[in-house]
């Protein structure tokens, strides 16, 4: 079932070039956003001095830029592997990149020209009440940028599902729902890439449709402030979209683990009943878990918060467990020959698994009431995003652009990234445990030690990532082949 579905699409855009274009954009934007993060850490450590307004603008750009670029690169991983099994359109894939670039320009403009600093979560009614810091137009550019990016992703995910339906008949079959409930033999189930892509696409489509509603409504309120909405409802809708979108980046990147590790161990990834059940369950849960962002909103119906808390404990777990377990059994005694790509995706699984632990702690009401809005939160999400999702994605990048690149660059980049990343997230977590608040431009003297350790970790991450991205760009110069993409 793993035949290359279609070579080049209509219009003759080359799929290999398209994937490389995605990764090239990813490399540049990722490094830029990391530099923004590094700047914030430097400012909190009081080693440089920037205006609080600028800090919050950079925070907004870093948050939305990182969420966007992990979404984009996750989509590249998903698309690259899913097209081995189902027909997808390269034109739509490229269109998504174009939409993304246009949207990213609008967002960068809203921040660096318009001064928009309402955070990537753009919580209503903050964009409308800037206290004179930014104009309605700046906020509108930000939201339009998100809408444009959303259109691209909507098209891409719809096209992936169309491809999956054309081969498997329905989304249930794409997920392996029958296999999950023991109604069909495991061996007839879809390959892991297809199950993951089905889950990711369903979730993101729901999230984007809901996000579009709240974005358009808020755009109206920017210009017609007499329109008012229930702020709590708006927050629900925003987190529905935001939580889903950022979560799905991991579920797309994890496909790289399913595909890259087996190539190194020469063992197929086991897709058993538990595997399919995990993906079915996480499809349901990723769409119902977002209330953990509202645990401090006392006006929320209690049952929603309780449900949100319980689902938070279990939502990430099924896929995480089958993936971590699958990765270990795939590697164990396989005589694997490690490469940079395999090492990075393996780190990605570990980073994801470790990062989920403090996240689950924070998804608990009594813990949340203490840890909410401390640096514990960036601590846990940077763990599974940076050391989890980004590590898997960098593994994919190394796999696509590996081969003939100078051999030292890869291992050096990998270790610097790993060590720096560990220091960086531990500094956040330690700060959070000491009640350092998140999203503060100016820190008290007692908090500075955490910040300064964080700077060192962040610096190492930037260096390590630069090495890995450089390795990718160097490999672009040599003729493409070897990874089976045409």
């Amino acid at each position: 079932m793993t035949t290359q579905a279609i070579g080049t699409s209509r219009g003759g855009i080359d799929a290999g070039i398209a994937v490389r274009a995605y990764l090239a954009v990813t490399g540049i934007v990722l490094l830029l956003m990391m530099l923004f993060g590094f700047t914030m850490r430097l400012a909190q450590a009081q080693w440089i001095n920037i205006e609080p307004n600028t800090f919050y603008m950079i925070l907004t750009m870093h948050g939305s830029g990182m969420v966007g670029i992990t979404g984009l690169s996750g989509a590249a991983v998903m698309w690259y592997f899913v097209r081995r099994h189902v027909p997808v359109s390269t034109g739509v894939f490229v269109a998504n990149l174009v939409f993304f670039l246009v949207g990213a320009l609008l967002i960068l403009g809203s921040g660096f020209i318009g001064g928009f600093a309402g955070a990537w979560t753009f919580l209503y009614p903050l964009p409308e009440h800037s206290g004179g810091l930014w104009s309605a137009n700046a906020a509108a550019f930000y939201m339009l940028g998100l809408l444009v990016i959303g259109v691209g992703f909507l098209l891409l995910h719809l096209d992936v599902l169309r491809g999956i339906i054309s081969v498997y008949g329905g989304l249930g079959a794409g997920l392996g729902a029958k296999q999950a409930f023991g109604l069909a033999p495991e061996k007839d189930g879809p390959p892991p890439a297809v199950a993951a892509a089905t889950m990711a696409s369903i979730s993101n489509i729901v999230g984007i449709v809901i996000g579009a509603v709240v974005l358009v409504l808020m755009l109206v309120t920017l210009y017609v402030p007499s329109f008012t909405f229930n702020t709590l409802l708006a927050k629900n809708l925003i987190y529905y979209f935001g939580h889903t979108f950022i979560n799905v980046t991991i579920y797309m990147a994890v496909i790289a683990v399913y595909e890259i590790l087996p190539m190194h161990t020469h063992r197929a990834w086991k897709t058993n009943r538990a595997f399919y059940l995990a993906w079915v369950l996480s499809t349901l849960m990723v769409l119902t878990v977002y209330p953990h962002h509202l645990l401090m909103d006392f006006a929320m119906p209690t049952w929603m918060l309780i449900a949100g808390q319980i689902i938070s404990w279990v939502s990430g777990l099924p896929v995480l467990l089958v993936t971590a377990f699958g990765a270990l059994t795939n590697v164990y005694r396989s005589g694997i020959k490690w490469s940079v790509a395999a090492g990075l995706v393996f780190i990605g699984v570990a980073g994801w698994a470790i990062g989920v632990i403090p996240a689950i702690a924070d998804g608990t009401v009594i813990v949340n009431s203490v840890m909410h809005n401390t640096q514990w939160v960036p601590g846990h999400f940077h763990t599974y995003l940076l050391l989890g999702m980004v590590a898997m994605m960098l593994g994919f990048m190394a796999y696509i652009g590996g081969g003939r690149a100078p051999s030292r660059l890869g291992p050096a980049g990998l270790w610097t990234f790993l060590i720096g990343g560990a220091i960086f997230v531990l500094a956040f977590l330690a700060g959070g445990a000491a009640s350092v608040p998140r999203r503060y431009a100016v820190h008290l003297p007692g908090w500075l030690p955490y910040d300064r350790v964080g700077v060192i970790g962040a610096g190492l991450v930037v260096i390590g990532t630069s090495l890995l991205v450089t390795r990718f760009f160097l490999a672009l110069r040599s003729p493409m082949s070897g990874d089976g993409i045409r």
């Binding site: 079932m1 035949t3 579905a5 279609i6 209509r10 099994h85 189902v86 027909p87 359109s89 739509v92 909507l154 098209l155 719809l158 096209d159 599902l161 169309r162 339906i165 054309s166 081969v167 498997y168 008949g169 329905g170 989304l171 249930g172 079959a173 729902a177 369903i202 489509i205 729901v206 984007i208 449709v209 809901i210 579009a212 509603v213 358009v216 409504l217 109206v220 309120t221 007499s226 329109f227 008012t228 909405f229």
Partner: protein, 216 residues
């Protein structure tokens, strides 16, 4: 479709049109904003879709070719329906005979008819995109009616207005769920994907297939 069946359909469309125009049904549907927006307007559009089914076999070739991928027709339908989503237009239709006539003529002829003719020509991805947009636009319109600071229609009360808003949001949710369930279940046993056969998939799902709909 057989000829007789087509005549029956035409007849049904005309009868429905007349029923919607005549007082008992009409005054009932127009007395309430929710019924006006979510029952009368969609039914008028549906009449146009029925007409499209009657007319499709007589559609000239050049017309089908000009309606590239169904884009012009769908755009026309979108413009027409968006116009009648405006509270001001609803109001005018109640108070002004010529606007009322316009409503009864434009929704079937400029929304339903082009939609019915063009829809089969729209590629699968385009249809899915339109569905997704319809769902989010309905919810957005509903949200706007709910969030509006004052009455938007002279003929309808504020409570009717928010009832209409709630109804639109509810319809969006139901449509979304229904769409999901249909796609989730899908076709019972698809062509097994031994090797993804490009031409067969294109044929079934309209990618790259010729954009003229095969005549029935």
């Amino acid at each position: 479709m057989r000829r007789i069946a087509r005549y029956k359909l035409l007849l049904a469309a005309c009868v429905a049109w007349a029923c919607l125009w005549l007082p008992p049904l009409r005054s009932m549907l127009e007395s309430d904003m929710t019924l006006h927006m979510t029952v009368q307007l969609p039914l008028l559009t549906a009449i146009g879709v029925m007409l499209a089914m009657v007319l499709r076999p007589h559609e000239p070739c050049w017309f089908a070719d000009a309606d590239w991928l169904g884009i012009p027709g769908v755009l026309l339908a979108i413009f027409t329906t968006s116009l009648w989503m405006l509270p001001r237009m609803l109001d005018l239709a109640l108070g002004n005979v010529s606007i009322d006539l316009l409503k009864f003529a434009s929704l079937p002829l400029l929304a339903g008819l082009p939609l019915g003719l063009s829809w089969p020509r729209v590629p699968a991805l385009g249809r899915a995109f339109l569905w997704a947009n319809l769902i989010s636009m309905l919810a957005t319109m509903g949200g706007l009616y709910l969030g509006a600071p004052q009455r938007l229609c002279a003929y309808y009360r504020l409570d009717q207005q928010s009832a209409a808003g709630t109804a639109l949001v509810a319809i969006a949710i139901v449509l979304g769920l229904a769409w999901f369930i249909v796609l989730f279940i899908g076709a019972p046993s698809p062509a097994k994907p031994r090797s993804a056969d490009k031409s067969r998939i294109n044929e079934r799902f309209g990618w790259g297939a010729s954009h003229t709909f095969p005549r029935s």
